[in-house]
């Protein structure tokens, strides 16, 4: 799948979640642009959310957590305190602190991967989905 298609799918998922959140939190909003440090914000809860569509995890069994893509990125730069990994079949909510805890406590080793449309390799943690579930929490 191309990067633009991935981006469009990711955008769609963010729009869907924004709509759901608007049912309860009228002030919720979505950010735009490639350098956004979070995807959705819920001012009523003082919560910022990062949404990661990871449809490939159904095949690989791993959730990808990026931290460097030509520059610090992902978990190192996101301002979102709450992350949502959505596989298509499942939504996994996890706090940023718990992502960091999971990486450290489980002693995960980073790897370099390069998507077909990536100009640069990126450094990521590939985390088995059952481990991510263990550190997950309920939706905000």
């Amino acid at each position: 799948m191309s990067w633009t298609k991935d981006l469009a799918k990711g955008d769609k998922v963010e729009e869907e979640w924004l709509e759901k959140l608007h049912g309860v939190f009228k002030q919720a909003f979505k950010t735009f642009g490639p350098d956004s440090r979070f995807d959705l914000s819920v001012p009523e809860l003082d919560t910022k959310i990062e949404i990661k569509l990871d449809a490939r995890s159904k095949d690989t069994g791993n959730i990808v957590i990026e931290y460097h893509h030509n520059k610090p990125s992902g978990i190192l730069t996101s301002e979102a305190g709450v992350w949502l990994f959505t596989t298509g079949d499942e939504d996994i909510w996890i706090t940023k602190k718990n992502i960091q805890k999971m990486i450290l406590v489980e002693e995960l080793s980073p790897v370099m991967i390069q998507g077909p449309d990536d100009r640069h390799k990126k450094a990521v943690f590939l985390v088995p989905i059952e481990i991510v579930r263990r550190y997950s929490s309920s939706a905000p």
Partner: protein, 107 residues
């Protein structure tokens, strides 16, 4: 300066450099061992090794000094908070393990 054969090699260098614990010394050690084009990723990767290295220091004062050595103008913002959160997570995990092993000894 070492040539980087693989990402796991860089990973090992970062793990070893983190043991310097004083942030400027950690970077100095990375610069000594890592070719310039690998430095940005090494600086990001070492952040995942610093919490354990700092937690393993023998005294509270040494841990405090290591945290105080982190400047505010790092490429990643809030590095100090990131490291402190990591130390807390590892400390809690270590405490759980200690409790588990002392229960095991009692039982």
């Amino acid at each position: 300066m070492a040539q980087i054969h693989s990402f796991s090699h860089l990973h090992k260098i970062c793990e070893s450099a983190a043991k310097k614990t004083n942030y400027p010394l950690v970077l100095k050690e990375l610069r000594r061992q890592v070719p310039r084009d690998w430095m940005p990723i090494a600086e990001s990767t070492v952040l995942f090794f610093l919490p354990r290295a700092i937690l393993d220091l023998p005294t509270k004062q040494a841990r405090r000094a290591a945290l105080d050595s982190i400047p505010n103008n790092t490429p990643v913002t809030n590095v100090r908070q990131f490291i402190e959160d990591g130390i807390t997570s590892l400390w809690e995990k270590d405490r759980e393990l200690d409790k588990g092993s002392s229960k095991g000894r009692q039982g």
